[in-house]
């Protein structure tokens, strides 16, 4: 439901970064999205199209890399990815594990730009 505000925040952040690359066109924006980020990719893609209209990001692709939840087990010390988000237990020994080390990311990883050739 808040995907439109997420999409607008992406547009703002990327537009800010573009100041350093005059004349560049945004081809792709790469996101890291944790399985616990509470963002639905389909809705985000839809909102991205709307939010980028009339901005330097118009026509660019949004590529989403979903990150699994990784927990650290207090009992056996195992650090491992959970198969889903329905049970927070150590994937190695089965002990309940609430120490979440990855999976909440909502981050712009990188942007791919096309820049005009610099004439010598």
């Amino acid at each position: 439901m808040h995907e439109l505000s997420i999409a607008s925040s992406i547009v703002d952040s990327v537009t800010e970064s573009l100041a350093a690359y005059p004349g560049a066109r945004v081809v792709e924006v790469r996101l890291r999205l944790g399985a616990l980020a509470a963002v639905i990719e389909d809705s985000l893609q839809f909102c991205y199209g709307i939010a980028t209209e009339g901005t330097p990001l118009a026509g660019s692709r949004l590529r989403v890399h979903v990150q699994p939840v990784v927990v650290h087990c207090a009992r056996c010390g195992h650090l491992g990815a959970l198969p889903g988000v329905q049970s927070f237990r150590c994937p190695s020994c089965g002990e309940p594990a609430h120490d979440v080390r990855q999976g909440r990311e909502l981050e712009i990883e990188a942007i791919e730009l096309e820049e005009p050739e610099i004439q010598a």
Binding site: M1, H2, S5, I6, S9, I10, S13, V14, S17, Y21, A24, V27, L31, L36, A37, A38, V39, V85, Q86, S87, F88, R89, P96, A97, H98, V100, R104, L106, E107, I108, E109, A110, I111, E112, L113, E114, E115, P116, E117
Partner: protein
């Protein structure tokens, strides 16, 4: 044309996170314990909070509340009836509170004159989970009328909670509420979470909840 990859590694909610961090510092410096109450609409956040405010005031604690809704100031008026200062945040369509809205509604309040500040979020079990408000304790509420599997359906929110409150426990019988299943699901999603089983109507379970608040606040002063 040349292609260039620019690494950004930037949090999308960076602005909110920065504002929340500043608020948390302000709250800590003022010595006020701040809680963010989150649930679906109709869980009974406002009724639960009314009773909490009233009881804390009776025992001499200084409390205040901010309450978020899309429209109307009905809830702020209900909470203010407890005698505690209460302010409404109308989000006009936004499905969650953000740190900036909280900051804006603190104007004129002396935080150091407060023991507890409760922030009642917009009724929604999805979006509020991504927005840090600078709180120290996030409380997820769940009523017996909603079904025991709410934590499984909304794992992000329940996993991010520090405590859970089961509300309307007086209706558990008529609703056929499966208490063991609810507790099991809460613990699958957030192992070790503190759970309070309450009825703001009859007062059941409220004493445990208030003891928890006081202990958390004392821990804060001691720390």
């Amino acid at each position: 044309m040349n292609t260039r990859i620019v690494e950004l590694r930037q949090g999308i909610l960076k602005k909110n996170d920065e504002l929340a961090r500043a608020l948390r510092q302000r709250f800590t410096a003022a010595g006020v314990l701040v809680l963010n109450l989150v649930s679906s609409p109709g869980t009974g956040k406002t009724t639960f909070l009314e009773r909490t405010l009233r009881t804390l005031r009776e025992s001499g604690d200084r409390v205040a509340a901010l309450v978020g809704d899309l429209e109307t100031d009905n809830d702020a008026r209900r909470l203010a009836a407890s005698g505690a200062p209460a302010r409404q945040i109308n989000t006009h369509g936004i499905c969650h509170l953000e740190a900036e809205m909280v900051g804006r509604h603190l104007d004129g309040w002396d935080l150091s004159a407060l023991d507890y500040l409760f922030i009642e979020n917009v009724g929604n079990l999805v979006c509020p989970s991504s927005y840090d408000l600078g709180e120290r304790i996030r409380v997820a509420l769940l009523s017996v009328t909603e079904g025991e599997d709410k934590p499984l359906k909304y794992p992000t929110l329940f996993n991010s909670a520090d405590a859970a409150v089961i509300t309307k426990i007086d209706l558990a019988g008529p609703c056929g509420f499966d208490r063991a299943a609810a507790l099991h699901h809460l613990n699958e999603i957030r192992p070790g979470i503190r759970v309070f089983e309450t009825s703001a109507k009859t007062g059941v379970g409220m004493a445990d909840w208030l003891d928890y608040l006081k202990a958390e606040r004392q821990g804060r002063s001691a720390g």
